[in-house]
Amino acid sequence: MKNLTSWAIIALTLTFLIGPFIIIIFAGASAGEALAFPPDGLSLRWYLKVFTIESFRQSFLLSMGLAIFGTIAALLLGIPAAYALNRYDLPGAETIRMVVASPIIVPGIIVGLALLRYLVIPLDFTVTLALFLAHTALVLPYAVRVVSSSLNNLRSDMEEAAVLLGCTRLQAFNKVVLPNIRGGVLAAFILGFVTSFNQVPVSLFLSGPGVRTLPIDMLSYMEITYDPSVAALSAVLAFMSLAIVFIAERLLGFSRYV
């Protein structure tokens, strides 16, 4: 296949995949009132407007909190689990793996609804707590998978050597395993963070007055607003995710662990 044809195909596909994103950036930078592309003149006012809306500030903080703490919780549960599955010969290992991976298979909206009906309402959990638990469960499969793959690359002889040199299992874990899977853990954190931050279906039913994640807040805003601020908002949201990923890439060569 000639090089020219190859590049043409790739260019077309990339235009389809990324073009819309570029369009949104510019549509949000319109100086005019209506949402259109190409925009009538360029201006940053719609981007500025996005930052001034109060409810966005609140939902942004909530999303950030959920992403950070939910991912940390998922890692606290997931790292031991990944370690156990990898280094031990567990009965029912396959079942455990499946159970832990299940949140990915079931559509998020069902999870949200189920949690609402059987945890929030009957047990009187606050919405925030329910969101936190849901996001943790959502990130758990990614945490286990990424850390597992990191562990696979680390041979177990290192720990055995440490133990023979006098460490307890826990010390060996802290001194030998953790430093070496640090990259994998960080990668899992980034992946979990982004997944949680962008999550919509799970949070749909679990939102209440004053308690909304940013994407959900955006969705309702989009239903009533038709000016370029929506495009600006989408662009800002996209930039945020990208920024996080770029920083991660700089820090650790992210792609090795996924």
């Binding site: 369009i23 298979i105 999870v111 609804l113 949690l115 059987y118 982004v194 279906p201 994407p215 495009a231």
Partner: protein, 273 residues
Amino acid sequence: MFSSTRTGLALALPAAIFASLLFILPVGILLSEAFKSDAGWTLQGYIDFFAKPLNRTVFLRTLKLGVLVAGTAAIIGYATAFAITNLSPKSRGRVFGLIILPLMISPVARTYAWIVILGRTGIVNDTIVGLGLSDTPIRLLFTETAVFLGLLQLFMPLMIISLLSAMENIPKDVIPAARVLGANWFQVFFKVILPLTKEGLVVGGTLVFTGALTAYITPAILGGSKVLMLETLLYQRVNVANDFVSASVIAMILIVMSFSANLLLKRIATARK
């Protein structure tokens, strides 16, 4: 490896228990609602659900779009993946990065762009009216086509990545060897590339199909209430009508469809061997 099973279980169980309690249990109960009625276990919920024409339409439409998106993604995906393998390693890395990029961006942002493109004053309509192909803007939003495009854009990177990784496992000179033996490019694809990248196609196909089936945001933004899909229907039934039986039925259908798709594709892959 270490032999103390007890410690191992102690480490792994919290995660497993958390996932079960928080997730499997509530979901299980929700799904069981679909079978309940005052008289005990029954399939009446399903019968009632499918009795309504609207529900049937939504069900078939979701299935149809799932298949179309997966199929189109496969075709474009193979072409793109193959084109990428012809590039130098440096270019390959850059292109790969560009393809993964969209996955990091919120689906809300990615989908919203289509409003700008397909709206009444959007690019497509501007071009159509400008070229004189129509006097008034055509309604492109809130159609199945809009949802199709949105879903395709959302999930195509997954297919490309899957196929790319499968293609990299084809031994080095196998494709030139087939060419020298007389195969034209169609034959190279069907007799060599396809059989050797089957697993990648299965993985990609399942990811895209189930993704399209269970998508919420894209159908919500681009389809609204005119083009309902199973998930947006579910939301509507709960929010608007407090109809939990329908919701459970839909949830069950979604899960069954994802699982079946997975099994079916796996069977096709092993059968061809």
